[in-house]
Every structure is written in structure tokens, then in C-alpha cells.
Symmetry: C2
Subunit: 352 residues, 2 copies
């Protein structure tokens, strides 16, 4: 039995309380300052208003004001905020966490230095935590997992990745149930990079539907799966290339943390919806500022970061100019309002 | 300009006549003895009754009785029959083809010797062609391509694989259009094995829908994408392992001929439909003999062949007993009416 404190009450963080508490762990769910309505709702009726499910009675829900109390003495502190809150979460954990605790991250993404050097998010968190960073253990969860599916006990397979095998074993044991299947890996970098990259390509999963809609062919006899499949294939290639570039094991690409996660992310969600608008011809600046204003788009955020970094890394001669043609095309769409026109001939190492 | 004779008038063989004839090649479509109705229809109205589209006016349609006339003098003879007709096609080509022609295969699958040794289908065709086999050139088309999508000019990316680069270059040039994007590869074995394996895993793409239906949850708030994504990930792993085992380049797995093709095949079709029945609890023998009697299931055929071969290769000590847990589970379902119960803990190298 572990004492687990979860910082952030979003859908994924909350979904993970299900296997955790059912396994006999003691689980606290702490809303950030943005989660007050969620915590109010759970405290009053147990209902998570976004997940639209009842949270297990045994999960204690706290407002952020009570975070210190909830985190004190915990074995595991989960950082459950989204990628936009990582810097904030690091600053909070710097004062709330204590040596010996395990920080378990579920946020996907990367950040880049001015020169384009990319960092996985646990590294970013670490940086914000100062001296404490080396006194806690680090781990993260990746793999194909839709929050609501996990919460209603659908079979879900994930990878707990981190730096120390014994910590991963302890976490896996705490979380494993008959529906939550957990593998472990010390390829921390490889899995985190895979988790970021799959979000990038999932954005493209919406293009075909938008193009068909625009052409008045939403119900046509033949859809555009060939298009999405080719994009998926090139996505897998570039994911693998980036995992390798960042020092991870290329095998990540053909597993849960690679194409498995990319598959589930391509099946739906906000990112795919944003991609559908792109397919229908809406300039991305309009999607960002009007159509989907205020909606968190983790995939787009990843394209912004990685796309810009790749441009800089190319200028520095670290990345070849013909590499990552799909990331570059997506970045052009997202950053420069480029119309959708995939550079097929550049894919798969160049048409030849 | 090439003279292309297509043996078999199924949907995929017919779809490939579109880019071929639009590019100025001379194309003949020859029905097998099973395709008489299709050829009658094309000759009378240009309509392909299964594809439900008009075949280009410039494609000449022939009944099998006129095959010799259509194939004589052709540069390329496409073997467009399905995997069940490969032996037959090889025997026909042995008398119909002539030295110097290129045999272009579009059939996916493998065959096995009594001891479990697996062979790609072009090898099987070769064997049936006797001395002529070494006097013709060999190539095949793989990658995510739904026949109807290609025929209506949806962007489609494929790989022409074969033994000689100059032959592949010639074929690619003949087929490339602004919607049909062609790459080439001399990793013939790797791509053919990938094309067979993706059919195997696509069968599993239907399980989740069937399970939800059986549970009365077809319209539930949360579906089962996590389940299919995990299966997809393990499928990609086993595809890569088999490509490597057969002597192909493992890179095939993360490209068009691997996960790209697996993605499109998982999106629908007869194989996935058969998998849906399995998910709903129907014993496979009933699906094979009653529910889908007479319907060609290439994925199931591949499971039969590869699953049985893996058992034999394991007995011979050539394959480790813990390898290919998903293929083994699918084979159990298909060959022994095993109920659907995926061995999650054996996936991804074993839960650890």
C-alpha cells in the first residue's frame, strides 16, 4: 500500500485514481487553482464534471489550499497538470515535495532552449525543483490510455518509465489491476519523447475528415483512410527518428509508447478535431484564436515546440534538412497558417 | 509507356488500372474463370459491380479464354488474384508469361512447408512457374491502399518492392500520378512479410466493437480504443520480429509496409468484421462455416498459415516459445475455437 497524492484533478489524473484506490492505496486528489469547480463537485456529489463519472468514495478530494496537508507524508506525488502547467507544477512541488518521495509525471510534451535543444518534461520539472530534484525519485506513465476508458475499467496497457527499476517495480505493483496492465522501462527519455511525438502526428489524424467534408464527400462511397495511414506511417518513422536522436531506444517506436499510443490518439479528441478544421481549409490562426479558443491542444503545443526546435537544430547543422518533413509541414500549418498540402515526395526518406 | 496485362479482375487489380491507364500505359484487365460476371459488366457498361465504379474506357477487358492474347507482348503481367488463387495463378503464368516480362504481384500472404518454413507468395508463384521463373523479373506492391480509394483518386502512398532496382524504377515511373505516390525498395522479403503480418493483426481490430456490442455498450460513453491500441502496438512488435526473422529489414515495420498498412487494414473490411463476431462471442468455426461462409478472409488465412508454422517452428526450437504471443492467441481462436481472452501479460516481451 502506498500513499499517493495527485496534483491536478483533470481527467487523466482522476482516471488514475481508480486502479490506485481499488488496489488499496490511499489516494488524495488535489485540484490546482484552476480545478475548484471539479473539487467542489467531487466533494459535494462525487461526480467529476468533465469525466462525467463518479469518483471512488475512498479518494479524498482537496482544494489547492490544502495541498501541503495532502502531500505531506505521501510516498508518491503525481504531477497531473497538462503541459502548459509544468513550470507552475515544478515550482509548487519545489516547496511541497520532500526528499524520498517519488514524482510520477503524466504530462506529455517537450520544451526547448533558445538554441533548439529539446528537453523532456520531467527534466523541466526537475529544473524548477532546485536541489530537491536529486532527492526525489522520478517516473512517468506513457502508453495508449484514454482517461474515461481507464476509469470505466476498459483493458488498458501502459508503460511506467523512470530512472530506477526498483521504484518502477514498486509503482507498477501499486497500480496493476486486472484491467490496468503495466510494463516498466528505464528508457525514460525514449518513452517521454515518444509520448510527445505521437501527439504531434495525431493532429494530422483529423485532416482527411475535414477534406472530405469540405469537398461535400463526408458520406462518399470511399473515404480517405489511405491518406491517414500514410501520414501514420511517416509519423511512426519520424517518432522513431526523434526518439533515437534524443538518446532513447528506437524500439520504443514499435510498442505501447510509440505506435500504440499514436493509434489511440489518432482515434479522436481535441487535437484531431483541430486537424479536421485544418483539413476543411480553416487557417490555423483562426482555429487557435476563434474556433477553438481557450481549448487545450497538447498536440499543437508540441508541434509549436518541436517544429521550431527542428528549424533551429537544422540551422545549427544538428538535424539534416530533409529529416522530419511531416513535423515541418505541420509546423508550417500551425505557426505560419500554411494551407494543408502534405509534401508526400519528401516522406519515407524521399520518393525514389 | 508500358503494356500492362492484369490477371484477375478483383477490386484491387481493377483499382490499379486507374493510375496505370491515366499515365498512358496500355492496360488489359483479364478476368479469371471466377470473374466472368465482372468482365461481362465492364464490357457491357464499364461498371465494375463490386467496386461500384466505372472502369476507364481505355482499359480493355478480357475473359480468361482470351488471356493468351492479352498477355502476349506485355511488358508487365500483374498477378491480381487473391491468396487462395496463387497456386492457380502460378500454373497459368507458367504457360502464359514469356521471358523478359515483369511479374507484378499484389497478393498478400505466406505459405508454409510441412516443417513450418515460411515462404512469401512471390516465391510460391515462382515455384509453380518452373524454369520460366528465373527468366522473368519479379516485383510486388505493398502499403496502405484501399482499392476504392485509389480508384477515386484519393492520395495513396505505396511501396513497389522487388529484386532489381532498375525494374522498380521503370514500374514506379509507369504508375506514379499526382495521387498515387510510389516508393521503391529492394527489401522484397521484408515488405512481403509485413504485408502478410498486418492482415493478421487487423483481424483483432474488430474485437473491441464486438465486445462492446455483446455487453450492450455499443453506444457507451467510453469505447475501447485503449484495447485496440495495445493490440496494435503488440501487432507492430510481432510484425517487426517476423520481418527480421524472415531476413527483411526491421525498418519496414515503422513505414508504409508496416504500421501504415496495418493502420488502414484495421479501419475496416471483411477481416475486421470477422473479428467483430469473435468479440461478440461467436466461436470462429461458426463464423467461418455459417456467418461469413464463402467470404474471402485473407487475414484469417494468414493466421492459419503463420500460426500453424509458428507452432512447428517452436517445436523445432527455431522460434522461442514466448515469442509471437498475439499471433498464437489469434491462431487459437481461429483454429481451435478458443474464446477471446488476450494474454496481456505475455505481450511486449512479458509484463515486467
Amino acid at each position: 500500500m502506498l500513499r499517493i497524492a495527485v496534483l491536478g484533478a483533470g481527467v487523466m489524473a482522476t482516471a488514475l485514481t481508480f486502479p490506485a484506490v481499488e488496489n488499496g492505496n490511499e489516494v488524495s486528489l488535489i485540484g490546482t487553482h484552476l480545478d475548484d469547480e471539479i473539487i467542489d463537485s467531487i466533494q459535494a456529489t462525487r461526480e467529476h464534471p468533465v469525466l462525467k463519472l463518479r469518483v471512488d468514495e475512498r479518494v479524498k478530494a482537496y482544494h489547492f489550499a490544502d495541498a501541503a496537508k495532502a502531500i505531506e507524508g505521501a510516498d508518491v506525488v503525481m504531477s497531473g497538470v497538462n503541459s502548459f502547467g509544468v513550470n507552475w507544477a515544478g515550482e509548487q512541488l519545489a516547496s511541497l515535495a520532500t526528499p524520498g518521495q517519488t514524482i510520477l509525471c503524466i504530462t506529455k510534451g517537450m520544451q526547448a532552449d533558445e538554441d533548439g535543444t529539446l528537453h523532456i518534461l520531467p527534466e523541466v520539472l526537475k529544473k524548477r525543483m532546485g536541489d530537491l530534484a536529486d532527492k526525489v525519485h522520478w517516473a512517468a506513465i506513457v502508453g495508449p490510455s484514454i482517461a474515461g476508458e481507464l476509469a470505466v475499467h476498459r483493458d488498458t496497457c501502459v508503460v511506467f518509465c523512470g530512472e530506477q527499476q526498483e521504484i518502477l517495480d514498486r509503482l507498477a505493483k501499486a497500480y496493476r489491476t486486472d484491467y490496468y496492465h503495466v510494463w516498466t522501462s528505464t528508457d525514460f527519455v525514449g518513452h517521454e519523447v515518444g509520448a510527445c511525438m505521437k501527439n504531434i502526428f495525431a493532429f494530422g489524424g483529423g485532416f482527411a475528415a475535414g477534406m472530405l467534408e469540405k469537398a461535400g464527400q463526408a458520406d462518399a462511397q470511399y473515404a480517405m483512410y489511405d491518406y491517414t495511414a500514410a501520414l501514420f506511417g511517416e509519423g511512426a518513422r519520424e517518432l522513431k527518428q526523434m526518439v533515437t536522436f534524443m538518446g532513447g531506444d528506437p524500439e520504443v517506436a514499435t510498442g505501447l509508447g510509440g505506435v500504440g499510443d499514436m493509434f489511440v490518439t489518432t482515434m479522436g479528441g481535441r487535437n484531431v478535431r483541430a486537424g479536421t478544421y485544418v483539413g476543411a481549409g480553416v487557417p490555423f490562426s483562426q482555429i487557435r484564436n476563434v474556433t477553438m479558443k481557450g481549448i487545450t491542444l497538447e498536440g499543437v503545443a508540441a508541434i509549436d515546440v518541436v517544429g521550431e526546435a527542428i528549424e533551429k537544430l537544422t540551422q545549427r547543422g544538428v538535424v539534416a534538412k530533409d529529416d522530419y518533413p511531416l513535423v515541418r509541414a505541420l509546423y508550417d500549418i500551425v505557426a505560419h497558417d500554411a494551407p494543408l498540402d502534405l509534401p508526400w515526395k519528401k516522406f519515407f526518406g524521399g520518393e525514389k
